[in-house]
Symmetry: C2
Subunit: 237 residues, 2 copies
């Protein structure tokens, strides 16, 4: 089930990038690839947490249902990203739900397998810690933005993060539905829509799912954004 390109995706992840092929094969044994249709649930809040997931193709949203029937989107993950790492080290139940937002293929890694691998190989423990630290960092950023940036600025930052190290003018394609982007950024679809039109004033043009950014600098200044570089690989022995 795991194609060559799948392996390549796994090898690009923060979690498994440094694991050598043999160990990787033992972690992601047969029957670990799962496919989901758009809208299908991967797991629900409260389910026993048995797996850690790597997105091979598609997008998955992590969310919580609130008692009023709204839903709070906590993250959206795409190819080469992992999710639900933390659940394996705590209560043993998923603290939020996960749903495929389009046709998606995931690799599910049994966490007891990962745990035993961690005990056997400290480098994997380090990767795991790195992956979790990265997630934590991402949440810190989201939290800060929610607290200190207004809707247009949050959208701008979202766009800028999608086209790091590209020269302006540059073009971005929105990766999933606008209503999901809105939820992801902590606003309503209406607010997203209106904010986009206000971004026209700083050189952002929206046409369907294609966004043109005239001048990155100008947008960065408007959003007070400092780009976050992927840190250099740690080579301590």
């Amino acid at each position: 089930m795991l194609s060559e390109t799948d392996i390549a995706v796994l090898a690009r992840t923060r979690l498994l990038g440094r694991v050598d092929r043999a160990v990787l094969a033992s972690l992601v044994g047969p029957g670990t690839v799962r496919t989901y249709d758009k809208g299908q649930t991967v797991f629900r809040k409260g389910d026993p947490a048995r797996h850690i997931f790597v997105v091979l193709e598609g997008w998955v949203k992590i969310y919580r249902d609130t008692p009023q029937g709204e839903e709070a989107v906590l993250g959206v993950f795409g190819p080469g990203e992992t999710f639900a790492e933390a659940a394996a080290f705590l209560t043993g139940v998923y603290p939020a739900s996960a749903e495929a937002v389009e046709s998606t293929r995931l690799c599910a890694i049994a966490h007891e397998r990962l745990r035993s691998e961690i005990k056997a190989d400290p480098d994997i423990a380090m990767s795991m810690l790195g992956a979790m630290a990265w997630h934590l960092h991402g949440m810190v950023n989201d939290l800060e933005r929610l607290k200190t940036r207004n809707a247009p600025q949050r959208i701008g930052i979202f766009l800028l993060e999608m086209c790091v190290n590209q020269d302006s003018p540059c073009t971005v394609y929105l990766p999933y539905e606008k209503s999901l982007i809105a939820a992801r950024l902590g606003m309503t679809p209406e607010s997203l829509s209106r904010s986009f039109s206000r971004l026209a004033e700083v050189g952002v043009r929206l046409e369907g799912h294609r966004v043109e950014i005239e001048d990155r600098r100008r947008l960065e200044a408007h959003c007070q954004f400092e780009s976050r570089k992927r840190p250099a690989r740690d080579r301590t022995r």
Copy 2:
């Protein structure tokens, strides 16, 4: 410098609770206890990250300065809590600043020491992963609340978390300045103040730093708060 009660605090932390005394002593060698006055900086965003901290006494706020000169509070940590774990596994630079909000004593653990300990002992790696998972979980909660709860509800949840497994009516003492609580909860001091008076309607009385909660259930219902120790019952049969 480490008193007996300090050791007891360390032993209660998620990070070091399972580490045995001998190893613990090697981790927290001499000269690792630092004292700070109210308002003193522990580290600044961008400083090289060399230590992980355990709060022995007092309170520390983690924050980021925004370009407008505001400050976004990302967390406030007290006795028995650790912070800056994640920084040790990423860029090597603190991603936010830390400041003592009152007279505080911290234990600073050199992270290379912790890293080598992790490589030597998988149990420590597991504790570390557990501690980071816990933090991640806490951020997820904060993020969700910021997105889906209004100001009075966030305050109510904050209060309820301070008096878990106490019977109502119960009394809570606010642990630090109200303006800091406000920032921590993502609102202004004015908003905190007004929200407190609105909470009177659900049986919350504020007098100085003492808060009386008439009926936990009522407050929980008002905030739509599910306490963590009582997972939702599955009623499907």
